[in-house]
Symmetry: C2
Subunit: 213 residues, 2 copies
């Protein structure tokens, strides 16, 4: 997927730290207190050396005897990824996909709050949909500024995505998670993460075909 | 994200070819017949040299004067990605996310058919949901073999994903698009593409935070 080159160095590290955190939260729930780098490596599908390199970035070191302390490592990763505090998020497009994303997210993130949804459908305006207050797209600039929203999720049709993104950026959004099947034009200092379901499915199907041949 | 190393060489090329196809379909709909590599590069967010290298893989060359012929290039990419023919796909988990995926996909792919959905919810069994016949998860092995399904989409809760994937692989599935927030253990010859919404959102939020600081 296209991505802004200025972020390339740490992009993969950040992604892996998010994966480690997801795994650590699960094993903490299971009552496990310590984990060795090779065990975490296996769960994350990477090498133990990779784990150690990534945790060096956040300044966390384990003990050769007990490995990593799960709660301590979780705190260190969260400190690194989440501080200095909460971030407000909006979602644009509250159709099938937007609703699925909203249903998927609440409760998982203490530092990420989806504080507004935007849509053009009059039936959705001023309603709370899957826990999220929905506004008319005309209010986008106003609400984004008022609520200090810095992250946006795009779940609009492809043809509307660029216009929406231009407005979001003009209103202060710095980072975008894009589900619309379209490459966005953004300034150098804005980050875009692409989640293109159609491209992912085509790629997956291609490899099934190769395996069958 | 973790990925099977044996596919690494061509993974990015395949992904980019899927993106080029998406773009070419759009511009063909807009009535554009020819496109230069630098124009396609701009729309895809990659370099023109990258485009030329990728198209060399599929054996397509443009004209220095007219650039690439859109319909010819589309055919070449599709020939490369889709042949020798149709592939049958199933989706496991027909909840919010599963339904959103189903709503997103029909009509876009002539060579990819979602022929079965699986769920544990009795209310969904034997119903057609967003165009897809839904079966009980107990029927998974039987239906996957009967319909020659080689690609599966996982939209189950995290805790059910691995058991489902084990069954799918035992029944002949070779390639998996995984939306469940969990790293899957699969044999070397099975491909997994991860679409982890929570990791994507955390990563996006991290970069917004960096831009704000």
């Amino acid at each position: 997927m296209p991505m802004n080159t200025s972020f390339k160095t740490s992009l993969k590290t950040i992604e892996r730290l998010c994966v480690y955190r997801r795994i650590l939260r699960n094993i903490e729930t299971d009552g496990i207190d310590n984990i060795y780098s090779h065990q975490l490596a296996k769960l994350a599908g990477v090498s133990a050396a990779q784990i150690r390199r990534d945790l060096m970035v956040i300044g966390y070191t384990g003990s050769p005897i007990k490995g990593y302390q799960v709660s301590g490592l979780l705190n260190s990763i969260s400190e690194f990824l989440d501080k200095p505090g909460c971030q407000n998020i909006c979602i644009v497009g509250v159709g099938n996909l937007g609703r699925a994303i909203l249903a998927y997210i609440p409760g998982r993130y203490t530092h990420l709050h989806i504080v507004a949804g935007f849509d053009v459908d009059e039936h959705k305006i001023n309603r709370v949909i899957v826990g999220c207050r929905c506004y008319h797209i005309n209010k986008l600039s106003e609400i984004v500024k008022e609520k200090n929203i810095t992250v946006a999720i795009i779940a609009t049709p492809a043809e509307n995505a660029q216009a929406v993104v231009d407005k979001l950026i003009a209103s202060g959004v710095k980072s975008i998670l894009n589900f619309a099947p379209v490459t966005l034009k953004v300034p150098e200092d804005v980050f875009v993460e692409y989640m293109d379901i159609s491209v992912a499915l085509e790629k997956t199907a291609y490899f099934a075909k190769c395996r069958r041949e």
